[in-house]
């Protein structure tokens, strides 16, 4: 951030730090910072405070900037009436499981594709990457039918967490991210481990994974946010009230609940991902850009 001030961009550094350029730069900066705060933080402020307003205050014109008579009760109602504790627990449970399944199966697969390179490895990788081009909506019906009656095993996964965990493993983007990271680990390290008689599993566990903590972190964060944000798939495969995720639960209750309570519930549902983002924003942003720029 601060360190890239040295590289030349569209407008030269010198031009921006003298006379008229300097005035324009600072005016523009202030305008953009104020504007962005208003556009991106403003709605969130409106959401948090709006959920504190009473039903009457919400319907009032013009709308008030601060809640005149804050009603924390809306948040309590949202928590109790929508059974948010249960919904949040479910979502958290699915998210943690998704992280574990992805870390185990996807890093094993990426390790094999990157270092062991078995026969047909590249074909398999190409087939995996091909799925990135297929929109989720196209597959939703056959995927749903598959989950209702798994081929050969004839198990119904409806309302089972595996219906979320296993499809999450089939994530070509994460395998690709992991493989690229593993590719950058020198072959000499692998050869040395082989000399010492380490098995492939041992090499993965004691050499590759410890070196790959940053990328494993990125993949984990992506898995958590993907489960937290997903809507249609959990709505279809987790139909009973006991297994719902938080987004689906709020949607289901939205019809018969006062809107400030729905908004209060939406705020509560958004808190975990916002906290994750604020803590891990550096990792998230670097994972996002390394996955797409180079190569």
């Amino acid at each position: 951030m601060a360190q890239d001030s040295g590289t030349r961009t569209l407008i030269s550094h010198a031009q921006l730090s003298r006379g008229r350029g300097r005035v324009i730069y600072w005016t523009l900066l202030v305008v953009v910072v104020a504007g962005f705060t208003l556009v991106f933080l403003g709605p969130l402020y409106w959401m948090v405070t709006g959920a504190l307003k009473s039903g009457q205050e919400i319907a009032q014109t013009p709308p008030s900037l601060f809640p005149k008579d804050p009603q924390p009760q809306n948040y309590v109602d949202a928590w109790n009436n929508l059974a948010l504790a249960k919904l949040l627990f479910n979502t958290f449970y699915y998210a943690i499981g998704a992280v574990l399944f992805q870390l185990v199966f996807d890093s094993a697969a990426a390790y094999s594709l990157s270092k062991l390179r078995p026969i047909f490895g590249n074909t398999i990788l190409a087939l995996m990457l091909g799925t990135l081009m297929i929109p989720a909506m196209v597959l939703i019906v056959p995927q749903y039918v598959t989950v209702l009656d798994l081929p050969i095993l004839h198990i119904n996964l409806l309302d089972s967490p595996f219906a979320i965990w296993l499809p999450m493993v089939a994530n070509a983007f994460n395998i690709f991210l992991l493989k690229r990271f593993f590719d950058s680990i020198p072959e000499e390290l692998m050869a040395a481990a082989l000399m010492d008689g380490a098995s492939s599993l041992r090499t993965l566990w004691s050499i590759i994974l410890p070196l790959s903590r940053p990328i494993l972190g990125v993949v984990s964060i992506f898995a958590v946010t993907a489960v937290w944000k997903d809507f249609l798939w959990p709505k279809l495969v987790m139909p009973s009230p006991e297994t719902r995720t938080v987004s689906v639960g709020i949607y289901t209750f939205a019809g018969g609940t006062p809107m400030n309570v729905v908004i209060a519930a939406s705020v509560i549902a958004a808190i975990p991902t916002v906290i994750i983002f604020l803590i891990f924003q550096r990792n998230i942003m670097s994972g996002l850009t390394t996955g797409s720029i180079k190569g």
């Binding site: 030349r8 709006g50 996807d106 062991l116 026969i119 799925t131 989720a136 958004a270």
Partner: protein
Amino acid sequence: MAITTVPQTPRNAGRPPSPYSAGPQRTSLGRKVRDNLTGHAFLIGAVLCFVVFSWYPMVRGIVMSFQRTRRGETTWVGWDNYSRIIADPSFWTAWQNTFYFTVLALALGYVVPFFVAILLNEFRHAKGYLRILVYLPVMLPPASALFLFKFYAYDPSEAGLFNAILKALHLPTSQWMQSPEMTMPAMVVASTWMNMGGAVLIYLASLQNIPGELYEAAELDGAGIWKRIRHVTIPQTRLILALLAMLQIVATMQLFIEPLILANGAGAEDSATSVAYLIYQHGFFQNDLNGAAALGVIMLVVLAGFSAVYVRLTAKQD
């Protein structure tokens, strides 16, 4: 996360085999077989998940679209599902709406992030803060963000946020989601707000890879800011620009949760019905999974058409 998924060709295709998997002194057949078996053992978990939840459903979707299941009995019906789906009066409306959304979303959600990224890249202060702000909405669960828009921003009375702003500026207020003309633009605004952060960050990263000398040379040649953007920035980021255009088309064609929450599905006078919503409607409400599968195949074919045009256009440029 569709915006960030970038397929690439396997990198080690042309590389010599790994010294790790086949040392020069140990190339016996048994050793090779064992190495390959170990490799596939590590792959099996992920591959099985791809087989069951991705590759097989792909084939099954196509097969289903030519079948019909009634009372547990499945029969081949040829193109019946397709003709039934196309005869549905909502079919053409849904495609029209979806294309309209795609075009609007490209105009707003494609151009704006690029210029926002150019702007952010010039700043030497508050960069981290601005980046966090732009990406923050991406982290919200879409359902949460859309309820905010639905109840507080697009409230058709003057108590709604947008109408209050319009009124304060002495502009005519709008009915938003209750007016068929405003439905789509309102959905595009909400969707762009929720999703543009990813594109901005990707552009920012690619802008930082442009060598500074190019700008310097252009400036010495007397090129102004616009000329520098046109002749340096855009050509230098061409590949990413083209790629994100394609990914955004794929993403916008799947328009679903916006109509579902903001417009309760179809919206005023069917103005919000999208193809993805129609798939959902047929498959899970009208109990017509085969028809929904046929619609999915049609969507795939349309997108494949787009991809073919895309490949043609980008191949010509190189």
